[in-house]
């Protein structure tokens, strides 16, 4: 089956409600299928940094040359998430997820916001268009409050 056919098949299977959800999240159908099939949990870069660092420390204890033990993908990912983590401290990372999850966001939206830390309401909507779509309870004020909460965590980290 070619890629295109597969995509169309996906669209049919997903049905109305979901393809709508897909459109407003601004992600492809591909993502939605991945999301439903594998029951994947999205991770923010800062969370991945904690997980990978923990694993790397464990390796350090059991071997002399841990960098030799890990794959190139691991090494590159660790470098990447360290560079692009907005929060370093484990408590702050936990707080970010806790605070964002009060705003009825989809997993994916939560992680994009946590990763990119938009500073203005306009920027947040450009990054995650779905937070401002019909039927969602987010007005500008609520979004502003959410961004404020986020920057507070950063300040007190």
């Amino acid at each position: 089956m070619s890629g295109e056919e597969e995509e169309n098949a996906a669209e049919l299977k997903i049905g109305d409600g979901n393809s709508f959800k897909c459109l407003i999240v601004g992600m492809s159908i591909e993502f939605l299928r991945f999301d439903q099939k594998s029951k994947a949990k999205c991770l923010m870069n800062c969370e991945v940094a904690l997980i990978l660092e923990h694993k790397y420390e464990q390796l350090q204890q059991t071997s002399d040359d841990p960098m030799n033990q890990v794959s190139q993908v691991f090494e590159k990912s660790l470098q990447y998430v360290k560079r692009f983590s907005r929060y370093k401290n484990p408590d702050a990372v936990r707080q970010v997820r806790e605070i964002l999850s009060r705003y009825q966001l989809a997993e994916f939206e939560l992680c994009v916001l946590g990763n990119l830390c938009p500073e203005t309401v306009e920027e947040a909507i450009a990054m995650v268009p779905s937070i401002k779509s019909k039927g969602r309870a987010h007005d500008d004020e609520a979004i502003e409050k959410m961004l404020n909460d986020l920057s507070l965590i950063k300040k007190f980290e």
């Binding site: 992600m27 492809s28 591909e30 594998s38 994947a40 190139q72 993908v73 990119l116």
Partner: protein, 159 residues
């Protein structure tokens, strides 16, 4: 984006690995086999974070090898069309955007006509993925910086 997911794999083990450390042997073989690989469906497997369960082994006819179904949790990275993420520039080539000019030399870069923005190696950019191509062992993406709030986020030359 990174995801935490549960995957399944059948592990084939030689009888010499059986015995008291069977479980450890399965897990270390799993890590060696799976970490660092890439599949179009799940993306890059970055790290295994836990074993959910190891099922009953099945002896294979004629060889003595035993197959164990293993369920494991792992961190994967999978890019999607439409996703916005931040990235590091590793190479600058000559695919010129309309409003920028390519400057060759030992540090090739893009500069806007007024010189205010420069993109070169090691710059950090925020981009939106507009296309992905999935290969058996790799995923290629095309991204754009031509939209609101996209583009350079830090400039190594200015820092």
């Amino acid at each position: 984006m990174f995801f935490h997911i549960v995957l399944e794999r059948n592990m084939q083990l030689h009888p010499r690995h059986f015995g008291r450390s069977l479980r450890e042997n399965i897990v270390s073989k799993l890590m060696k086999d799976v970490e660092g690989t890439c599949s179009g469906r799940h993306g890059f497997v970055v790290a295994i974070t836990g074993i959910e369960n190891i099922g009953k082994g099945l002896i294979r006819d004629g060889t003595g090898f035993v197959t164990f179904p293993v369920k494991y949790q792992c961190v994967v990275f999978r890019p999607f069309k439409g996703e916005i993420l931040e990235a590091v520039v590793t190479m600058v080539n000559k695919l010129i955007p309309d409003d920028m000019e390519f400057q060759s030399g030992d540090m090739p870069n893009y500069t806007t006509s007024d010189g205010s923005v420069k993109i070169q190696k090691d710059s950090e950019v925020r981009l939106k993925i507009i296309g992905t191509r999935v290969d058996a062992t790799e995923i290629f993406c095309i991204g754009t910086i031509k939209d609101d709030f996209l583009g350079v986020i830090n400039d190594p030359a200015a820092a």
